[in-house]
């Protein structure tokens, strides 16, 4: 990895994030401020970018493809939604919709304490670590990898979705949870609050980006890349890769949960569809399009794909699946390293040129 001062794309992205965060935080007073609507969109994109970083860490730098990262995103989202509902109930006395549907008059016992945000944070970390830890330990210990691991993660998120669709679990059922009224004592729909949440998301994205880079530049990051490139080689040099993989897997899950905590308050709703295989697959698509194994690529991929999706979902929603699948085909066939390939086009010859030059003499 290049030294930080020479890593131009990384520094540019970091600077851009700083500018966005600055514009957002000064939006209330400055003349060039953004609207609450735009701020909200930026905030959601930032949350998705954090999610993409989580997957890039495990897939791009350790070679483990997860098609179930929506699960951890969902854990963060559900827990923060529980916090918001409990907190709103406390401040406004409003009973959540899902309880009204079920005819319940009080919260189930396991909702106790969620009005206290640090408790919600601890629960998110604990549940994420528990699930990712057990699942990761069992899988990595039995040396499940590659496509098998990806399929199992997909099944895992699907099971979670089926579970959350049940109405009697006390987690909102198929309607999910919505109607958040207040966050930290302020009305959640106020433009100041919306902009603040977006600014926090952008800042968290910047910090996550920086944190991931520091990790990758360390000895630990070097061993991650070694394990990605040839795990057996690394093991037979005396490194127990189980612990390495488990640590990165759990860290990646935590980052995904963090992204979910940022996302749900801004979008105002969570329902089991967040746990649908589609979202988990899409995360991999963002990373693949941006450039797997490049932090900057993951962020750009997530922002680009979702920005197009935001825009299209208003303009021509029926086109979206075709555009997304078209992008996937393009990436797989032409740009195996995503946009990173596109950036390098000026420097190196396209694949086809080299191949033609070497093949033509044989044809004659």
């Amino acid at each position: 990895m290049k030294p930080l001062t020479q890593d131009f794309p990384f520094l540019s992205l970091l600077a851009a994030l700083l500018v966005v965060a600055f514009v957002l935080t000064t939006s209330g007073v400055a003349p060039f401020g953004v609207s609450a609507y735009l701020a909200n969109a930026i905030g959601q994109l930032a949350a998705f970018a954090v999610l993409a970083l989580a997957l890039d860490l495990i897939w791009g730098y350790l070679g483990i493809l997860s098609l179930g990262h929506g699960l951890f995103f969902g854990i963060g989202g559900y827990v923060v939604a529980m916090h918001l509902l409990k907190h709103s109930h406390e401040v406004t006395g409003k009973v959540p919709d899902f309880m009204q549907f079920m005819g319940w008059t009080e919260f189930p016992f396991y909702w106790a304490g969620f009005d206290f945000f640090p408790y919600a944070l601890i629960v998110t970390v604990a549940v994420t670590l528990l699930i990712s830890g057990i699942f990761g330990y069992v899988s990595f210990r039995s040396r499940v990898g590659g496509v098998y691991f990806a399929i199992i993660t997909q099944a895992l998120v699907y099971v979670a979705m089926l579970l959350m669709f049940r109405n009697d679990t006390g987690f909102g059922g198929n309607n999910g949870m919505t109607g958040f009224a207040v966050v930290f004592g302020r009305p959640i729909g106020g433009s100041g609050v919306v902009i603040a949440m977006a600014a926090v998301s952008v800042i968290v994205l910047g910090l996550t980006l920086l944190g991931c880079r520091m990790l990758l530049a360390s000895r630990f990051g070097m061993l991650m890349i070694a394990a990605r490139d040839d795990e057996v080689r690394l093991r037979t040099l005396g490194y127990e890769t189980l612990r390495l993989k488990l640590a990165v897997w759990c860290l990646s899950a935590l980052i995904a949960a963090l992204a979910g905590m940022l996302y749900v308050p801004q979008v105002g709703i969570i329902n089991p569809r967040l746990l649908a295989p589609e979202l988990s697959l899409e995360i991999a698509v963002w990373v693949a399009i941006g450039g797997r194994g490049h932090l900057v690529g993951a962020v750009i991929g997530a922002v680009l794909v979702n920005a197009v999706k935001f825009w299209l979902s208003a303009a021509a929603p029926e086109l979206w699946p075709f555009i997304l699948s078209g992008l996937i085909v393009l990436v797989v066939l032409v740009f195996p390293n995503g946009l990173v390939d596109l950036a390098k086009l000026k420097l190196v010859r396209p694949m086809g040129v080299k191949r033609l030059a070497s093949e033509t003499p044989e044809l004659r």
């Binding site: 070097m222 490139d229 037979t236 040099l237 490194y239």
Partner: protein
């Protein structure tokens, strides 16, 4: 030092109904360079797999340094005990630099065994020995085949292993590179180290090996000097004469 570095005791390995190694017993002493030769499918690489913990034997045991049973130990534990190997296909980490490879080999475990200063001097020493000092900052993906072979040897020897196993170290190398590799292997010979080499290049084997073991269909066919192996009728029959 002397003594038995590796004792393979009545080891059998089966893949389905195929018996890759058949009740094989073999002892390699400290201080010697032992070559394992034999036709394809004789079980040479499988034997290295068993020793390094990648393949599990159906029966028998593998003892290291007389006392340590490494038959069921994990790959990383075996490597940490001081038994290391180079793979047949050059196995390097494409995303890392030459220097980082040697550092990973020298540190030899998640827990650091060397201080930063010791590590740096050890890495320089190894780079010098394998002749890649001037390519230290290069990514391994840019190396030529022969350089990758040396890089992997460097990675394996960086931790000063007690047993060094080299699976086809000169496959695909030019004559000059083979020459240099032979000199390197000879220079690695030490009284407290056993070196096991699997190789098909008989001239190379003759130059480096103190003794050769000829394997055939998972069994020992011959053990002795290379000169005697060349004279042995059975060896000529199954392998050398072809």
């Amino acid at each position: 030092m002397g003594g038995v570095a590796l004792l393979i005791d009545n080891v059998t390995v089966e893949f389905g109904s195929f018996r890759a190694i058949d009740a094989l017993s073999l002892a390699v002493d400290f201080g010697e360079v032992r070559a394992l030769i034999g036709p394809n499918g004789a079980g040479k690489t499988t034997l290295l797999d068993v020793i390094s913990g990648i393949a599990r034997p159906k029966q028998g045991r593998v003892m290291f340094d007389d006392a340590t049973d490494i038959t069921r130990a994990s790959e990383s534990a075996i490597a940490q005990a001081g038994v290391r190997r180079k793979f047949q296909k050059p196995s390097v980490f494409e995303g890392l630099s030459v220097r980082q490879h040697i550092a990973i080999g020298a540190q030899g475990g998640l827990r650091r065994s060397l201080s930063q200063q010791e590590l740096m001097s050890r890495v320089d020493e190894v780079l010098e020995a394998i002749g890649l000092s001037n390519l230290a900052a290069r990514p391994a993906s840019e190396l030529a085949h022969g350089q990758k072979q040396w890089l992997e040897i460097g990675m394996v020897l960086a931790s000063n292993p007690k047993v060094l196993m080299l699976d086809e170290p000169v496959a695909g190398l030019t004559d000059e590179e083979t020459e240099r590799t032979a000199a390197l292997v000879r220079s690695l010979k030490r009284p407290d180290r056993a070196i096991v080499v699997v190789e098909h290049d008989m001239d190379f084997v003759e130059r480096i090996a103190d003794r050769v073991t000829v394997l055939h269909e998972g069994k020992t066919l011959f053990e002795g000097s290379m000169a005697n192996a060349r004279a042995d009728e059975r060896v000529v029959d199954v392998y050398l004469g072809r």
